[in-house]
Amino acid sequence: MPYLLDKVWILPAIMAGSFLLILFFGKKLLARFGEKATASIGIASIAVCFILSLFIAGQWIQRVNHPPTGADMAAAEEACLGPSEVAAEEMGVEVYAPAEHGEASHGAETEGDHSTEADDGHGTSEPADGEATTSDEHGAAPMATGESAAAATPTAAAAEPAAEEGHEEVIPVCASMTWFESDHIDFEVGTVLDGLSAMMLFTVTMISLLVHLYSLEYLHKDVRFTHYYAFLSLFSASMLFYVLSSNTLQMLVGWELVGVCSFGLIGHWWEQRANTDAALKAFLTNRVGDTGLIIGVVVLFFATGAASFNVFFQNQQALSGELNTTLLLIAALALFWGVTSKSGQFPLHTWLPDAMAGPTPVSALIHAATMVVAGVYLIARMYGVFWGGLEIGDSSIHYVAFIGGFTTIIGGILAFVQQDLKKVLAYSTISQLGYMVMALGVGAWTAGVFHLFTHAFFKACLFLGAGSVSHACHHTFDMREMGGLRKYMPSTHKTFLIATIALAGIFPFAGFWSKDEILAGAANGQGDKAYTLMLVMGLITAFMTAAYMGRAYYKTFRGEYRGHGTPHESPKIITIPLWILAVFATVIGLVNFPGHIIGAVDDAGLAHRFEHYVQPTFAFPTDLEVAPFMYWLAGLSLVLAGFGLAIGIGYFAKGEPLKGMTERNPLARIGYVFLEKKYYLDALYESGIRDTVVMPLARAAYWFNMKVLDGIVNGLGVAARKFGTVLYRYVDQGVVDGAVNGTGLVSEESGQFLRRLQTGKVQQYGALLFGAAVILAAIFVLTNAINA
């Protein structure tokens, strides 16, 4: 059945091919046929990938609806776990067998605590089963995830739609081949296709396609047009490669590849020093995190029995509860250190605002929608490890959830003091990434991934909108030189407004649904306890997000135009992608519509589709609780967001009543400067770490290099030369040549001696002959005499 799902490697291969084509023929094509010829290679490739990813998503939905059973299922499972089990057995590691498919893993703990409610859940859900349009022919086995959540919250149990679906275990489609083999361990390279990667394929290819189109105009007549499109293709290839990776080593490769593309594209206009600095900063900051990632991969490899790098294998092992929890915790934290840099979490987020030095479409694609969520994707993919290592299921506050929550707040605060529109969006991205990480940290897996999905659309829309604005305003992003653009750029204005509302989380736009799920996840928590701190952090951020977006929106589009010249609306090639993204920002939230709000949607089997198709059921924590929709929380966040928007817009509409407060009030000034200096983090890194730790280290290393290493090397050279001289003088000249010359001399001398015998006189020869005969005879006679 899955004729495409096991051949998903085609997608990155297409993009890699496109990269090579542009690299080798791009410039010639550009010179002969113009920019469109070069760009069309990339556009055509990404368009093909987009269409393929639609087919793939469709096939995956088919697979979830009709999961393979019996032998097919076992084969799929074996493909996904790879050769690790055999290897593990050889190594003497006990391999945790997954829970029996079906009823068995129906949480014992759940039944123990809530047996009556659980029964209620069954009772109410069973009649609905018959009417539901779901096609669970294989015996509707009500299963762990959705069910237990329904059971855990009695109020929602009756209406919880997930219960009737029954989460059967749907095995992802895996394809792999051995890369190399070492010490009985197969190092594989392969692809994984499940809901998560299918979702990522769709998101990445779609936004990449729109950005490809958009760049056609945005980078028109750019000095490095070819270079830009080549990098876009390479980035798409790397990102697709990354999300399809079946093992952590392969993920590491993809991770580094996207980092390189990010570096190359941030420094696209490298003539300006600031841009190269930003590129270097991004690259080096990421390198700090990558170290953690590598450590995490290695620790995890050994923690799971040194048998395989396969993600499902490692998740399964981590969830088995039989591993060393300390080791698992170290692995999870080290992996998270990688996430910290890539996904802009505190304290390694500082590179992301600087990365805005790159072209705006790149900011939209790489630094908002796709690459920066690689870290979030990593947590989502390795969720078993994080779940096991951090004990998320206990609702104890742990590092990941806290850092997520903390990042979301500090990012949000910083967005208020930015004058650069792109910087506002960049800090907003940091804040939203913190939201996703926090969601994953509190166990709201679907909520976090869903927010990743919705955020990609409206944040890309905002960035592309900002690019459109800058295109109109003489390439500035300074909001002080904007204002009143509503009149000049109607399309950009409308799409930007839609995306702003979506990001602020106003019903019924996309951000509302995903943000609400995260808040619900934090409120509900795991195992009876709520993540209250994270809930508060999330609510504060919900308010702040709306407020700073209101500010940015007002300063850009309302009021009077403050720049020079007359702005103009961007051409269609820019506004069409904006409109597409705006439509997505409006409706995409409905794919995970909480069913029980409208009963009909629920009955039609349309509720919680995203969760149903994306949340894994294989090698995934079975006791994960999915929070139900809560009216009070949704209402509260909606009120906060509306309030925030109103303040953000109203403050500036009233003519900034508090303006000048930072000059009058010293306390306020201190606060403002503190924010403007970005919490002095950059100063800390530069003067605190770079100047006091790194520079002396570098100097010491330089000294060591010059004096010790070079001394050793030079000394070795001198010694070698001396030794060579001695060797030449005594061994070569003395021994070897002496032997040769001696041989010659001996031959000559002996020849001289023998020459004298050669008199030419036959009688002398005869005399010698006879003399010798006489001597021989004498010897014979004598020996005979002695013997006798």
């Binding site: 004298r756 015998l757 050669q758 008199t759 030419g760 006189k761 036959v762 009688q763 005869g766 005399a767």
Partner: protein, 101 residues
């Protein structure tokens, strides 16, 4: 019979020694050739003496063979002497030292 054999062997030895002396000491090439004949004939005497002692003919036959070879050898040798003389106007073997190293 034993006494007789010894006498023949003595005769052979004396002839051999005379021959050797002639070969080594004479300057005249013809005399050298003649001395070689003496050596050969001393050997012949020995062969015939032993042949008679054991009562078998092979020694005598071998002696006849030696005489035939000696005749040929003298033929070749005298030819050599002749050519020597033509080239060097002398048959003094001491002067024939062209192979001196």
């Amino acid at each position: 019979m034993d006494l007789m054999l010894n006498q023949f062997l003595f005769l052979g030895a004396i002839l051999f020694c005379i021959g050797v002396y002639g070969v080594l000491a004479r300057r005249n090439a013809v005399m050298v050739l003649m001395s070689i004949e003496l050596i050969l004939n001393s050997v012949n005497i020995n062969l015939v003496a032993f042949s008679t002692m054991w009562g078998v003919a092979s020694g005598a036959v071998f002696a006849l063979f030696v005489i035939a070879v000696a005749a040929a050898e003298v033929g070749v040798g005298l030819a050599l002497v002749l050519m020597l003389y033509r080239n060097m106007r002398s048959i003094d073997v001491d002067r024939v030292d062209l192979m001196k190293g």
